[in-house]
């Protein structure tokens, strides 16, 4: 049986400036800026579309494959 994978945005919280550029472009509103500290991805909403990764000025968002 093959395992189903899902693409998800992953943020490097140690480098995130919490500028919110990613939040602004997310079509699923899957990103919140947690207490002004870093961008947090809501995994149930994220579809791994890469828009946030492209927008992030620091380029610290990766799209990773995870098990469903």
């Amino acid at each position: 049986m093959s395992e189903k994978k899902k693409k998800l945005a992953w943020v490097d919280r140690t480098l995130c400036a919490a500028c919110g550029c990613c939040r602004k472009v997310c079509p699923r509103k899957a990103i919140i800026i947690y207490k002004g500290l870093y961008a947090k991805v809501e995994e149930t909403l994220c579809i791994g579309c890469k828009k946030c990764a492209k927008e992030c000025p620091a380029s610290i968002i990766d799209i990773r494959e995870v098990d469903r």
């Binding site: 919490a18 500028c19 500290l37």
Partner: protein
């Protein structure tokens, strides 16, 4: 799907308006205190950085010029520019220069120094700006602060435009001293 536009999505117009007003009469530079205080107040009151992604006029301007107008190479920033060392270091440098500007303003207020009708770009290049000064009813120090504050605003806009072109449109947001300061406020508030 096109996202619905809100009134605050058009705040980018404030940046060019502010810079133009300072070109006409330098005393308008005082209005910049609004841009300076609002993000700090928002982060102190709400404990978040909502100002950055929602109301920041400068960030919106860079997003517009670099994004829709294609004036950005959209390349990754160098890693050292993303590091916390650089961000905090730049904040420290920026604040030092800001304090120096306040000190020069004080000297003019105190009569120990004459008013310098120049705008200092990138903390080094002095550009004559006498056409924008038409006198003041108050002390010359009022005008000196305006010249100094306008220098800070113009310098940061130029730096933001340069990094917008070289890297991604809103690269400035990563090392913006105001963003770093509001980030520190949020950190302190999160620990409460």
């Amino acid at each position: 799907m096109k996202q619905q536009k809100h009134w605050y999505d058009y705040l980018w117009v404030l940046s060019p308006i502010y810079l133009t007003l300072g070109f006409v009469n330098i005393l308008f530079a005082w209005l910049g205190l609004v841009f300076f205080c609002t993000p700090l107040i928002v982060s102190i009151v709400t404990g978040n950085k909502g100002y950055c992604h929602r109301y920041c006029d400068r960030g919106q301007l860079f997003a517009l010029l670099g994004g829709r107008f294609g004036l950005s190479r959209k390349k990754d920033m160098p890693r050292w520019m993303v590091s916390k060392w650089f961000r905090y270091g730049f904040l420290a440098f920026f604040l030092t220069m800001f304090l120096l500007m306040l000190w020069n303003t004080y000297l003019v207020f105190a009569g120990a120094q004459d008013l310098k009708q120049v705008v200092t770009l990138l903390w080094t290049v002095k550009v004559p700006w006498q056409w924008a000064y038409h006198g003041t009813l108050f002390s010359d120090g009022v005008a000196q602060f305006a010249f100094g504050f306008y220098s800070v605003m113009l310098t940061s806009t130029i730096l933001g435009l340069v990094t917008m072109v070289l890297f991604k449109p809103r690269s400035w947001c990563i090392y913006c001293p105001m963003g770093t300061m509001t980030g520190l406020i949020c950190k302190a508030k999160a620990k409460e």
